[in-house]
């Protein structure tokens, strides 16, 4: 330690040496002392003087006097000086040490004090808390005391009341007892009197004459039947009473039910009317849920309205739905009330501002919608005017006038046409049929006459004078044919006639053609192997095939048929 201190001293002195020239020696000192040494050969005197000044400032004996010799150093004085300086330095160090020690001590004191203050603060906190706790307990105990006092008061009052009651009851009991005792005494007296009294007065009734019953009827004997009758009457009375009561209750129920239904309807209407306006207001419960509920109720309404609510479930449903509607209505009214009250007080709460804003939004939206609708209506009106006023051709007009029904009309026209055609065809066929029937009858007649003449001829031909009649037959036949036919196809007939003329005498049995044949020829009934397209040709063939029975007739039918066919052909085109 001392070595370091000496080193320190040396260092400090050297430092001092370095610093002081910088201090004392101004620019000139700096130029010279570039090496950093205080004293050099040049400035010995100055250094000497300087040091002596310094030493004297310290209070020490100067090391040397200010001689004229100058460079002579008093070594003793210098050593003394040095020794003094060292002592001084040592003293300084000691004081420094002491002061450091003291500083440490004071630091530790401070620490200690800080610790103690924190500890004390904590203690203070704890004690404060305890204090508040104790205060709280005291308050609670006081409350309890008060309530207990109230209880005590109530109990006292009750006790008082009960005492009063007991007193009154006791007095009542006493009174009764006294009364009974009095009566008992009277009874005893009476009994004594009766025992003493020899003459016993009997009960008796003395009536001049019996009087009739109030209702004039004879009194009846007491029998079991009478008893049963009495029972029956009693039950009848009770039953009728119950009946009337039930009827009244039923009427009342019906009325109440009506009222409830009415109320429900009103509530539903109110709630549904405010539903579109208040859709924006619904910030509490989902609008969809409420809407669905109301829809359910409306559906329920419509389905159950006509049904009498006599069963328990329906009644419950009605009451539940009414309760629901009422709750909703109540909440709605409460909300409105709160809105009104907040509007009145002028507070702008966020919850109330929202519905107002949304309400205004609703209003704007609705106004916009109204404007749009109006514009739309205007546009439509204009178009309609244009439509009505613009000039157009008659065709287009007529077309346009019924443009929606055009397709239907065309279809209808087509169908009508086909129907008309069919009708005409049927008409024609009917006409032909009747004509054919008429012709048939004519021809039959002719045929009969012909046959008759032929038979006559035959009969006459048996005689040798028959040849002269032949040409008349042919003539008559041809005459027949000519009279029967009307068309150009008569050319065909004579041919065939000529062809068959030769055959006709061979055909001996002439039976009138059957209706089946007639129909067949008129192709009204289909043949076994005939198909429609081949109908005409086949018949032509058949006509040539059928030569057995009444070929003449056949040919004639065929001709007719051909005519009809040709007629048909004409008509179809």
């Amino acid at each position: 330690m001392p070595e370091s201190s000496t080193v320190k001293d040396v260092l400090s002195s050297s430092v001092e040496c370095r610093t002081s020239p910088l201090r004392r020696f101004s620019l000139s000192a700096l130029h010279r002392n570039s090496l950093g040494v205080f004293c050099s050969e040049d400035n010995v005197q100055e250094c000497l003087s300087h040091i002596s000044q310094e030493v004297s400032s310290f209070g020490l004996r100067p090391a040397w006097t200010e001689p004229g010799s100058g460079s002579e150093l008093n070594i003793v004085a210098a050593l003394n000086c040095m020794y003094d300086l060292i002592q001084l330095h040592r003293r300084g160090l000691r004081t420094l040490e002491n002061m450091e020690v003291e500083q440490l001590k004071s630091n530790s004191n401070v620490d200690f004090l800080q610790l103690s203050t924190t500890r004390l603060k904590e203690q203070l906190e704890i004690s404060k808390r305890e204090n508040t706790g104790l205060l709280e307990r005291e308050r609670q105990l006081q409350l309890k005391v008060k309530s207990l006092q109230n209880c005590l008061k109530n109990e006292k009052e009750e006790v008082q009341k009960l005492q009063n009651v007991i007193a009154s009851r006791a007095s009542q009991y006493n009174h009764e007892m006294k009364r009974k005792e009095r009566e008992f005494n009277k009874l005893k007296e009476r009994l004594n009197q009766l025992l003493v009294d020899k003459k016993e007065k009997k009960q008796a009734i003395d009536v001049l004459n019996n009087i009739g019953r109030a209702d004039g009827k004879r009194s009846l004997w007491k029998t079991e039947k009478m008893e049963a009758k009495h029972e029956g009457e009693m039950y009848k009375t009770l039953l009728s009473d119950y009946d009337t009561r039930q009827r009244e209750l039923q009427l009342e129920n019906a009325e109440l039910r009506k009222v409830l239904q009415q109320m429900k309807k009103d509530m539903v209407s109110i709630l549904s009317s405010r539903k579109p306006a208040a859709k924006g207001d619904k910030h509490e419960h989902g609008g969809t849920q409420a809407a669905s509920e109301e829809e359910d109720d409306e559906a329920f309404d419509s389905s159950k309205e006509s049904v009498e609510l006599y069963c328990v479930h329906a009644r419950e449903k009605l009451t539940n739905s009414i309760r629901l509607q009422w709750r909703r209505l109540k909440s709605h009214v409460e909300r409105l009330d709160s809105q009104v009250s907040s509007a009145q007080t002028g507070e702008s709460k966020s919850t109330d501002a929202v519905p107002r804003e949304t309400h205004e939004e609703e209003m704007d939206r609705l106004k916009l919608e109204i404007q749009q609708c109006k514009d739309f209506i205007q546009a439509q009106q204009q178009l309609l005017q244009q439509q009505l006023s613009s000039p157009c051709d008659e065709e287009t007009a007529s077309l346009l006038s019924d443009c929606y029904m055009l397709q239907e009309k065309e279809r209808l026209g087509d169908e009508w046409k086909t129907l008309e055609e069919q009708r005409k065809i049927f008409e024609r066929e009917r006409r032909n049929f009747t004509e054919a029937a008429i012709r048939l009858s004519h021809e039959r007649k002719a045929f009969e006459e012909d046959r008759a003449t032929w038979l006559k001829h035959q009969f006459l031909n048996l005689s040798p004078f028959s040849d002269s009649k032949k040409p008349s037959l042919s003539k008559s036949k041809s005459a027949f044919l000519i009279s029967a036919e009307t068309d150009s196809s008569a050319a065909v007939a004579p041919e065939k006639f000529i062809k068959h003329r030769s055959e006709s005498p061979r055909c001996v049995p002439l039976t009138s053609p059957s209706t089946a044949d007639l129909y067949r020829t008129l192709c009204l009934i289909p043949e076994d192997s005939s198909t429609k397209p081949k109908r005409k040709t086949e018949h032509v063939e058949e006509s040539s095939v059928f030569c057995g029975n009444a070929p003449v007739r056949h040919k004639r039918w065929d001709g007719i048929q051909d005519r009809t066919l040709s007629q048909e052909k004409n008509s179809s085109i």
Partner: protein
């Protein structure tokens, strides 16, 4: 109002016949029958002793005069003045006597309530009913006169006997759940019998005609109970007046209390209109305690002038001595108007002896000891 001359009477025995044609009064031992319109004496009968009780028969043909001291009952006929009938109860004594509803039987209750003797005037037959109860109202006839209910006390238990008045056949005999039956009353439709207990226990029991217990009603315990009971004429309501100065009204469907009326000493609202929930047209009950009707002016004012007092009105209440038995507090008289719209009640110790409604239902007569008061109901306010 015109008043006729004053006629003498004793014992307040002055009754108009049920058909309203005659007026019978008793003066000492004489029975005087007058014509109501002319007040001329029509008949004069002489009884054997001072008459204690006088009663017209239901068909107004006979008058019963009972002399309790002598144990005699004499019956007089109006049609035949020389017809006479005397019933002597003998040594057994007589405590009360009454007509049966058909006017041909007389029920005599003997002394000490030993028995009830039924005397028939048609057949001179006698029937006995044992163990009748001596209570406030032990016998009641149904309004149509077909049934009689009688309270019986046997072996320290209460019973009710229902008799058919035709031939006095015992129809039903059942025990009641009362401690000490004080009274019974038929409902006007004759189907329900209200039975109430003595004032020591508040209990009202409702029995059906065939003896089934329909319902029990008890408003509170321990304090003094029922003082008076009254049916409404439509049988819909049963009014129970009790010692706690309240009237409670029960409805005939659930036999539960529908309302109660209080008689506070300070009246703040002259009218409390109550419309019952059954929504019957025009039926409600308007409670007007007696003191309301007088409206503050004294009933005993000789000038009989009425003025309307401003609300609230303080009724002079005399606190009765609670130590005495049967204190003069509570509702002692109840009267329904004929259309069941109004109920008049008398609370406390007011000197009103009876309340009676006019049959039209809009006026009320109050009989005091020395005065009478007629009250007309206006539809909106009380008047007169």
């Amino acid at each position: 109002m015109n008043f006729s001359e004053v006629f003498k009477q004793t014992n307040q025995l002055c009754k108009v016949s049920p058909d309203g044609k005659y007026l019978a009064t008793c003066v000492q031992y004489r029975l005087v029958v007058r014509d109501v319109s002319t007040l001329q004496i029509l008949q004069l009968y002489t009884c054997l002793d001072q008459v204690s009780h006088m009663e017209w028969s239901s068909d107004s043909l006979f008058i019963l005069c009972a002399m309790y001291n002598r144990g005699l009952v004499q019956v007089w006929s109006l049609e035949q003045p020389d017809w006479h009938c005397k019933i002597d109860e003998g040594s057994i004594g007589l405590v009360s006597s009454r007509w049966s509803p058909d006017g041909r039987h007389i029920l005599n209750t003997t002394e000490f309530h030993l028995r009830v003797t039924v005397w028939s005037l048609c057949t001179k037959a006698v029937s006995y009913i044992k163990y009748p109860k001596a209570c406030q109202k032990g016998i009641d006839f149904s309004r149509d006169g077909r049934y009689m209910a009688l309270a019986e006390r046997r072996d320290c238990k209460d019973y009710v006997c229902v008799f058919v008045c035709d031939d006095w056949h015992l129809l039903r005999h059942f025990e009641t759940e009362t401690q000490d039956l004080a009274g019974l009353e038929w409902s006007p439709n004759g189907c329900v019998l209200a039975v109430w207990d003595s004032c020591l226990e508040y209990k009202v029991l409702l029995y059906s005609l065939d003896g089934r217990l329909l319902s029990t009603y008890s408003a509170y315990e321990w304090s003094l109970g029922v003082k008076s009971v009254s049916w409404s004429p439509s049988s819909q309501f049963l009014a129970i007046g009790s010692y706690d100065e309240k009237v409670r009204i029960l409805n005939h469907i659930t036999w539960k209390k529908i309302t109660q009326f209080e008689h506070p000493a300070i009246i703040d609202n002259t009218k409390t209109v109550y419309k019952e929930a059954e929504k019957r047209p025009g039926v409600g009950s308007d409670e007007m305690p007696l003191h309301n009707i007088t409206m503050g002016a004294t009933l005993f004012n000789t000038q009989s002038k009425y003025e309307i007092c401003p609300l609230p009105v303080q009724i002079p209440v005399v606190k009765p001595d609670p130590d005495r038995a049967s204190p003069k507090i509570g509702i002692s008289v109840l009267a329904f108007s004929s259309d069941s719209r109004y109920l008049a009640t008398k609370n406390g110790g007011f000197q009103v002896q009876s309340l009676n409604w006019h049959c039209s239902g809009d006026s009320l007569i109050l009989l005091g000891k020395e005065q009478l008061c007629l009250c007309y109901m206006d539809t909106d306010q009380e008047d007169k």
